[in-house]
């Protein structure tokens, strides 16, 4: 009986903790969508931002976090990761990206997210509160680039999910499980190419150098586009057949998964690196009447105006990347965000490699060093991606009514030396510890 009472008490305490009310007191708030507010407080209730203002008084049961001299920002969002799906990229059994099959829209990244992946703790301490996690390209898996066998060339790899970087289960972590359908658009390889980034993400380029001629590569390319078109056409036929509900209609999971794409409810995230591929992807999208988001372009060039004209957003890959060709300017990748900004293209940043997700703000900072206005860099890791991935009403800024995904820092979050002091995900304060801080403590105590 006594035990039962204690258990009950514990359960009540745990329940209370999850819905804790917190007042971040007397901080400088950088909402991203408006001007900074000095010396104000942020009230967190029921996982949301309940109020922001100078005169909020902590009511009963509200925990006060003194934040004088500290800054409050929205948590950051990385738009290109495999978090939760890939643990140790060189070990295939720890990698769940890169399924077999060419057209696999029915696959859902979210169901394979391991909430206890060590990567989540590592990125949280640097202020990353949500990520897009991608099912990735075909055959390879997690940076193996096809080394682990299997795998015909993949075009549609499945649904990418927008998730929090904390939660008990993947359901718990979900923000938008169908944030995008991932399409790897066919492209013809040129010579050279940029290093860095996860090869698994990029388009698998059709080689012109490995024994083939340009003409052959072009033919392969056209065949692949035709296949892709056929797949979409078949999905449309399925959609019609489904609506007609003709006798003998059989449900098909691949085509079912395509329906929200055909209805423009879910955007297609298209990996396309060059202006020509982007141009072709845009033409394809127009023809199919689908929404697209362009992933990881290495060059924009003439495609920038097309993107702007159609309001197609872009996820820029690693800013700290080598130039595309030997002749390209050394700072080509550093200035790409500025180019996108000047062209009026809406963009966000992605790191496209689990290992460097925690460095997302430093990628953004490099863009600032090379001309991008600071506010645009900050937006590109907060509100822009939130909007692009269909969660602009929930996360991405410090605004009343939004989820309390917040980071409290001792300075500019884009600067390497800045420390994250507190982190809140859906209003819950997340300890700033992980496998690495534990090893740090353990071996710091070695005598």
């Amino acid at each position: 009986m006594k035990l039962a009472v204690i258990l009950l008490a514990c359960a009540a305490a745990a329940g209370a903790a999850s819905g804790e009310s917190i007042l971040i007191h007397n901080a400088d708030v950088y909402p991203v969508v408006g001007a900074p507010m000095k010396g104000v407080s942020v009230l967190i209730q029921d996982g949301k931002i309940a109020d922001i203002g100078a005169k909020i008084v902590a009511g009963k049961g509200v925990r006060v976090v003194e934040a004088k001299g500290l800054r409050v920002y929205p948590g950051m969002l990385d738009s290109g990761t495999e978090l939760g799906l890939s643990e140790i990229s060189a070990v295939r059994v720890t990698v769940d990206t890169g399924e077999l099959g060419e057209f696999m829209p029915q696959l859902k990244a979210i169901v394979a997210v391991n909430p206890d992946s060590e990567h989540f703790g590592v990125v949280r301490v640097n202020g990353i509160t949500s990520v897009m996690t991608f099912p990735s390209s075909g055959g390879g898996g997690g940076g193996g680039g096809g080394r682990f066998g299997g795998g015909e060339r993949q075009m549609i790899s499945g649904e990418a999910a927008l998730i929090h970087t904390d939660g008990w289960t993947w359901e718990d972590m979900e923000i938008n499980r169908s944030a995008a359908m991932h399409l790897i658009f066919p492209a013809i390889a040129g010579r050279g190419g940029r290093g860095g980034g996860n090869p698994d993400f990029g388009p698998q380029l059709i080689s012109t150098t490995a024994g083939g001629t340009y003409t052959q590569a072009r033919r392969t390319y056209e065949e692949q586009i035709a296949k892709l078109t056929d797949f979409f056409d078949d999905a449309r036929k399925y959609q019609k057949a489904r609506a007609a509900n003709l006798p003998g209609f059989v449900r098909d999971l691949k085509f079912e998964a395509m329906l929200p794409v055909l209805d423009r409810k879910v955007p297609v995230a298209v990996s396309a690196s060059r202006p020509s591929a982007i141009h072709d992807a845009i033409a394809f999208a127009e023809k199919q009447n689908i929404r697209i988001v362009v992933l990881q372009p290495h060059e924009l060039g003439s495609a920038a105006a097309e993107l702007k004209a159609r309001n197609i957003p872009v996820i820029l890959g690693r800013v700290l990347a080598l130039p595309e060709t030997e002749d390209s300017p050394y700072d080509e990748a550093f200035t790409l965000p500025l180019e996108a900004y000047k062209a009026g293209v809406k963009f966000a940043f992605g790191t496209f490699d689990n290992e460097f997700v925690r460095n997302l703000p430093y990628q953004a900072a490099t863009a600032v060093a090379f001309g991008l206005p600071y506010d645009e860099a900050l937006k590109a890791i907060t509100i822009n991606p939130a909007e692009i991935w269909g969660a602009g009403d929930k996360i991405g800024s410090v605004e009343k009514g939004k989820l309390a995904d917040l980071m409290v820092t001792d300075g500019d979050p884009l600067e390497i030396q800045t420390q994250v002091k507190h982190l809140y995900i859906r209003g819950k304060e997340v300890p700033l510890t992980n496998k690495q801080t534990r090893l740090y403590e353990k071996y710091s105590s070695r005598q």
Partner: protein
Amino acid sequence: MNKLLLGVLAAVAPLWAETIVIQNANVMTVTQGTFKGSIVIRDGKIVEAGEKVTVPEGATRIDAANQYVIPGIIDCHSHIAIDGGVNEGSVSVSSMVNIRDVLDPEDIAIYRALAGGVTTANILHGSANPIGGCTLPIKLRWGKDAQGLIFEGATPGIKFALGENPKSAGNPQGGRGATTTVQARYPATRMGVEDVIREAFNEAKAYKAEWDEYDAKVARGETSLIPPRKDLRLEPLKEVLEGKRYVHAHCYRADEILMLLRVADDYGFKIRTLQHVLEGYKVADEIAAHGAGASTFSDWWSYKVEAFDAIPYNTAMMVKKGIVVSVNSDDAELMRHLNTEAAKAMKYGGLTENQALSLVTINPAKQLGIDNRVGSIEPGKDADLVIYDKDPMSDYAKVQKVLIDGSVYFDRDTDISQRAAKAAEKQQLIEKEKQSQPRQGGRGAGRGGQGGQAQ
């Protein structure tokens, strides 16, 4: 044609000046504090650095008002400027091969690293062999020939490698460079890696004894002697035993680090640097006691099992144990921002700004035994300098100018102003190639000239 060639040469030839003064800069000397002042350079050397200096008459002045000057960045682990031949993976001991023979002065990575403030790099073979090839430091003198890159007088090195890479290279279960057609190559375990190194030094010791005996006889004036046979594989190991060649050892896990230190202790040589050394923090006391340097990544982790316990605090923890630590790149891209890679040790583990800056300047200079020449801003040292527009520990900082031996090898303004001309030249060459292609009757000729596009 001649005109074109001359144009190219003029573009790459560095600006030579007898005497240069960099003025009004925030000078971060690394070894002698930071101050607002000037640096006087004559004949490629720093002759004076201070708040007030005597400006020699006729000196070329570089106004660096509001800018920051640091010593040229030194990367203790790089594979740029190699014309193929990073790994000679067919044997477990490949000490007979040498980076010197495969230096490629035209690798564009040299210029790009220069644009990131790197002036000296330790060029290493890959990690396919427990005992790899011979290595050497170079200066990034873009525009010079292979000989002109070599850091004259620097002690050469040799690459060792432990752990996953050497044990899986050449083994059918996969790994770096492995293919299924390759026959298994010993070693396939960390035990085997230790044995390969011991066996090699066992041989090298005997070889050295043979030569020592011969040299002693020669010294005593004995004549009609037949010298021992020169062994190109053992010769570099003999140099290691004599302290004339530095060991730079690729390693990850604490056990293998400790293993190598003990092997070296047994055979009476020193490990100059442990490279990567991601679990160095676990055996920092042992590393410090041996006297090895540690050259690591700022924050790489999780890409393989032996990198799963890597922590970004590693750098700071090893520094605090008294180890000479550097932060390296091992990567042509990362090499371009080693300044901010170093700054991460301020975030993770709380090093001071000067300690962090040391990780990519004076510390790697010490590790490579070239700290008498480079690594800090001091009179008498080579004028290898980087000018930034902002504090180089900030990721908003951009490299403006880079000097090596007192000559400007990179200038951001010049780079930008030359872009239009370079693009035009490239277009000209493309046009020329297009026109010459069909006449040569190459592939694609007679098919609408598409051959020109093919390659």
